[in-house]
Structures are given as C-alpha cells and as structure tokens.
C-alpha cells in the first residue's frame, strides 16, 4: 500500500529518503501498475521528477543523458538519431512521455530495450554520490543520475527488435550491437540481447565468433550458433522459449546485415 510519495527538489534529498527505505519512482510506468491494483507492504516513493536530472548534453561525441530524461525527449532530439528507432520500439507515445532513461535500466525483461541498446553502446551509469561510472547492466539497484556513452561512427550501431506487433509490443528478441569493421573484417563487436533471458545478455560468444571475420551470412550464422548457449529464454504471454530460440539467428542476421 502506498503510504507516501515524496517529491524532493534535489538529489541529496532524494538520496536521504532512499537511504531511509523509500523506493525510487522514475516515470512510474513499471512501478505504478503494480501499486495501482495489487496489495503491497507499506511503500514510500521518492519521485525524481523535480530533482533536476532531466536533460541531454552532447559534447563532441560524448552523450550524457540525465536519468529522468524521458524516452520521448530522446525520440525528439535530433542529436540522438541513433537512439530514435530504439525508443520508438518501446511502448507507446503516452507511456514514453513518462518513462525515463534511468527507469529503463531497471525494468524487467522482456522490457527495457533502451537498456539493451545502452549496453551495446558501452554506456556507463553515473551513480549518485560520487562513485565512478559503472558498466551496464548494473549488478544491483542504485540511484543513477545519468548515463553516458560515446556516439559511434555512422553505421556502427545496429538494432532490431522483433515483437508481435509493429508498435507497442514487448520484445521477443532484441538485438543491439556495435560492429566496427576494418579492412573487411570485424575489428570490434559489442552485442547485447533482450527478450531471451530474465536479464540483458551481453553476448560474448557472439562477439567472439564475429571478431576477425568478414561480416557475411556465414559468419553471422556461425555467431548465432555460438550465441545459442547464451540464451535462457522463458515462456511468457508473448512467445515460448522455443520460439525465441528458434528465431534468434534470424533476428541476429537481420540486425547485423540489415536483411
């Protein structure tokens, strides 16, 4: 049962409330559905809405997105074209106007496609309270004030989200990757997967199978085979574990080769 909703004006005040046991409320799009219709232990929320954590800065190739920046703000920021298809693949307009970048880092799979993309972009989370930026996905919940990453060269970032519907549908398989090629061979690969486990999968075996090889159908097919061992999908309302595994190679190929 919701017992209090705090709306602090700055981060230290928010941190203080969290330390005393309150739960962080970003856009509310994941948390509020559970609180609206279901019983719960007494719960205090800390809304970050007024903590000044909203905003996007791009300095050179370095992008910093404040934690309470909404998915819609990213969608409409011309400097972040790269993330436009990512955020538009998530939920719907009236949800994206609430949902925040920080919140997306913590939503359960098969949701959280922006976080999948941020993992592929090697983004770092900036925690509140001075400790250094942390690699994604975060190992444990923490108050994040921003995420930051380097914009990749054009064409390096790849993204495909397979869902049951064109818009507003959860992930069956999400593939986000940064692929760098040098002299016709893959010289750098960072591949993140959504929808295929209870957590975001950093697909090391896929990356390894790509490195040093030409980005061809054969290479990607072999990488997909290598990646099967990294999947641990579950049955849910959208699709079975069998189906997600079965179509993973198709969507990996469509993401990496564009066909």
């Amino acid at each position: 049962m919701l017992t209090e909703v705090h709306v602090p004006e700055d981060v230290p005040a928010a941190v203080g409330l969290i330390v005393s046991g309150a739960t962080v409320l970003g856009g509310g799009t994941s948390l509020m559905p559970a609180l609206n219709d279901y019983g719960s232990p007494p719960t205090e929320l800390v809304s970050l809405r007024r903590t000044g954590l909203s905003g996007i800065t791009v300095t050179g190739s370095t992008v910093t997105i404040g934690a309470t920046t909404t998915l819609s703000q990213i969608e409409h920021d011309s400097r972040l074209q790269i993330l436009n298809p990512v955020v538009r693949s998530i939920a719907s307009v009236p949800v994206r106007n609430l949902a925040t970048v920080g919140g997306n880092l913590f939503v359960p799979q098969p949701y959280g496609d922006l976080a999948v993309a941020l993992v592929a972009l090697n983004a770092r989370a900036v925690p509140a309270g001075g400790s250094g930026p942390a690699e994604l996905p975060l190992e444990r919940p923490a108050l994040v004030t921003a995420v930051t990453f380097e914009l990749p060269a054009p064409g390096v970032f790849k993204y495909v989200k397979a869902a049951r519907r064109r818009w507003n549908s959860a992930s069956l398989v999400t593939v986000a990757a940064t692929i760098v090629e040098l002299d016709g061979l893959v010289s750098g690969a960072r591949v993140a997967l959504g929808g295929v486990s209870d957590h975001i999968v950093r697909a090391a075996a896929v990356e390894e199978a790509l490195l040093g090889r030409p980005l061809t159908e054969e290479t990607v097919a072999a990488a997909a085979r290598a990646g099967l061992g990294e999947l641990s999908p579950a049955d849910d309302a959208y699709a079975s574990a069998w189906y997600r595994t079965r179509v993973f190679p198709v969507h990996l190929r469509r993401a990496l080769l564009g066909r």
């Binding site: 919701l2 209090e4 909703v5 509310g28 799009t29 609206n36 307009v93 009236p94 609430l98």
Partner: protein
Amino acid sequence: MKIVSLRVNGAGQAFIARPGTTLLLALREQLGLTGAKRGCAQGACGSCTVLLDGQPVVSCLVPAVTVDGAEIATIEGLADGQVLSDVQQAFLDGFATQCGFCTPGMIMSAEALLDRNPDPTRDEVNEAISGNVCRCTGYEPIVSAVLDAAARRRSRAGEGAKL
C-alpha cells in the same frame, strides 16, 4: 495528504491528494472531469490519456502529488462552446466511435500528434495512437478521422495565413 494545485483546461484547480491518488483519479473523482477513463490502471489501454504540460500521458500512472503546478488538458477543454475541435468533428463525421470508451483518450493522443506534426502520414498516425486500445471499430475509421482532422486543421491554418 497533500494539497495539489494544477491548471486544468486553463483554469486553476486545487485538491487534497492521498499518496495513491493518481492524476486520473484526481481528475475524475475530485475535479469531476470524467472524460478520461480508467480502462486498466496499468498504462496499457490509453483510455486515461490527457496532456501533461502539452504531452500526452497515461494519467493512471502519474501520482498527482508529483505534478503539482502542471498544466493539464483534458477532452472537456477541447470544444469552444458548441464548436468542436477539428479532431472531435472528424471523429463525429467519420463514425469513428462505437462504444465511446476509448474515444476521449484516442482524441487526446490525436490532438497531441497534430500539435507536433500537422501533416502526419498514416504510419505516423498508427504510431501515435498505438497506445490507445479500441475493441470496437477496427481502427480504420479512427485513423481516417485523424488524417481528416489534420487536413481540416491545415486548411484552417491556410485560411488564417491568407487573412
């Protein structure tokens, strides 16, 4: 309990909110604006869509105390007296309603789209209303009505420019 002040459809409003009072319930139960509907309380049906500082949001997921001072627009504020907005009129003329439960949220999503994008493609309309569930119409009359409304608005803007 906190006192929350909002501007709703241009008028100042204040009410006392419990922690669990969402913007939707505040509008419906405390301000008497029942146009926004509760279809799921999960943010997944869009029946509760209103504009929060100009942006469409699912008001069922917004604790009212977090939006103190905000500007809210609801379906009740669209018509100018007896004169309907272009979107409302296009929905009416195009038989884009059946049971009517999704209609207020659908219209608010459409208004927000046209505010941002006066000449949307069919695909852009599809995306803009994909968070609003309609179980009756099959969407086609709704998409057509939004495109029709866009044309009406553009034609009105064109007339305005000539003056």
